[in-house]
Amino acid sequence: MAYKGHKINPKRFEKGQIKIILMVLPLVLITGLPIIFIIFHAFKPMEELFAFPPKFITTNPTFDNFRQLFKASRSAGIPLSRYVFNSILITGAVVFSSLVFSTAAAYALSKLKFKGRAAMLQINQIAIMFVPVAVMIPRYLVVNVLGLTNTYWAQILPLIPLPVALFLVKQFVDQVPQSLIEAAYMDGAKELQIYTKVIIPLIKPAIATAAILVFQQVWTNIEASNYYVNDDGLKSLAFYMNTLTSTTTTNTVAGQGISAAASLIMFIPNLVLFCILQNSVMNTMAHSGIK
């Protein structure tokens, strides 16, 4: 029998898939193990943290580590809710602006011809390749000169341009056929309409992937709170969690449980967002319009 070509994204379960699952499963388990470990560790009571030989699985789960975490924040003077609010505000503002700006720029850089286009792409690529630690001090100087120090802006504006996100979205816009855009143009659509009505719906997987990426970068960002802001009331949750885990000494066994709890709290929003957006990331587009 001639080979018929298999189906990507099968709708039903077939026997052939068992082979693939068996091949992938060991790697998936190894990858997932440390995450499961953090979850177990966060709920371990003191005597299990100290247990010898060390136990992987938690037998008597408790919220003690989380309670300790909240207690530490209460004694610090600034309520935890303030950090949560700051982080939500900063992350929301950055993710929204970053996605709008990157998709708009990606559309122009991929589909519109204008002077300086190639150079901009090249510079953006180089920016991806420049190691972040090297620009930390110069960036601090820029924020300082602009007078942004000690404001929310200092934690929002510098994070909006994310060269990786632009690069990612542009790679997907490249795949939208020129003929589709020309057809829309012939029908009288202006560039703005092509961007909102043609490009955006067709690159949803890219937008979802970029959203996951930008969210993660901002949500876990410590640098901005650390260097650009002195006022504790303006700092982010990630920064607070980081100071907490480094000051309650990660070396002590009791500190381990608290650190694991803090890691879990920071990890969960990422997880939730991924679960919400995964459908768009792994969305097989209807190929009616594309290609």
């Binding site: 189906k7 099968p10 693939i20 559309y107 920016a127 090297a134 820029v142 961007y195 990630a238 097989t284």
Partner: protein, 301 residues
């Protein structure tokens, strides 16, 4: 006729393009490009972060090549080893796993993708806690405890100080966390491949899944393959977080010292910012070379 001339004008110089680009371009110029240029300029100076930088020409670069023994003896070989294993290994693994997942139905695919991507969602704090506990140097450490129970070792190994094990541990953790955004992009790319292409290829004589992968899947998702390749290269050369968090900076006897750790060592411990900037520029050039190669492979126009 008028319409065609309009289209050709649109293709050659489109003013609207500037409108779409400018919001991104303005913020990019202020917060990314300017600092990068400042860093490049600093690489030609002697700067201790307090006094005004003094111009020294190419001295930092000359020192890097001729006088930095630690760099040549430890940092460069470590980085090359790390980049080859984690870079290439991680890339091949990302592609194969994404391809395997695309052959599964939605539910198992979603769960697997989530687990494989999850290390990329953990933050720096999580890593310190997790791996330090795992690799604790006495018998209370999980790895030691397991290995001793299995009879592989009799004495606990001081993992994070032992220079033989440090780099391999860093490499394993690097591989563990290498299913990142590149992996997601590849997965999205494969799932977006036009299915009619597979049918057409089967008629044209493609005989099995492997041939399909080579002749249909990869060529139809070059943009994603390139994106993932660049991300992998950048990630492989710019990772210093793992070594730093596990073993401090500098790592014991420079056993797991990577270029980024070297930059941090000079920039934030010795306050020789000019030299640190020069090493960063050198790193940029290395990454650029490999990115250019991958662009040739996946034809970026």
């Amino acid at each position: 006729m008028r319409k065609t001339t309009k289209i050709s004008r649109r293709e050659n110089s489109n003013k609207a393009g500037y409108g779409f680009v400018s919001p991104y371009a303005i913020l990019f110029t202020i917060f990314i490009l300017t600092p990068v240029i400042m860093a490049v300029v600093l690489s030609f100076t002697n700067f201790n972060a307090i006094q005004f930088p003094s111009f020294v020409g190419f001295l930092n670069y000359i020192n890097l090549i001729t006088a930095d023994e630690v760099f040549m003896q430890y940092v460069l070989p470590n980085t090359v080893k790390y980049a080859i294993i984690v870079g290439i290994g991680g890339y091949v693994l990302s592609f194969l796993l994404a391809w395997a997942l695309s052959n599964l139905t939605k539910l198992p695919r979603t769960i697997f993708a989530l687990i494989l991507y999850s290390p990329s969602m953990t933050t720096g704090i999580a890593m310190t806690v997790l791996w330090k506990i795992m690799f604790t140097g006495d018998q209370t450490g999980y790895i030691n405890s397991w290995l001793m129970e299995l009879g592989v070792i009799n004495e606990p190994i001081i993992w994070l100080v032992n220079t033989d094990y440090l780099l391999p541990i860093v490499i394993i953790i690097g591989l563990w966390s290498s299913m990142g955004v590149g992996f997601l992009a590849i997965l999205a790319g494969i799932l977006n491949t036009d299915e009619s292409l597979y049918e057409a290829a089967a008629i044209d004589g493609v005989k099995n899944r492997f041939q399909e992968m080579i002749y249909v899947t990869i060529p139809s998702m070059k943009p994603q393959m390139l994106f993932a390749a660049v991300m992998q290269i950048v990630g492989a050369f710019q990772n210093g977080q793992i070594s730093g968090l596990l073993a401090g900076n500098p790592t014991p006897q420079y056993a797991a010292q990577l270029i980024v750790n070297h930059i941090e060592d000079y920039g934030f411990i010795r306050y020789e910012m000019g030299y640190a900037a020069a090493v960063s520029v050198a790193l940029l050039l290395i990454v650029q070379v490999f990115s250019t190669i991958s662009k040739k492979l996946f034809g970026d126009d």
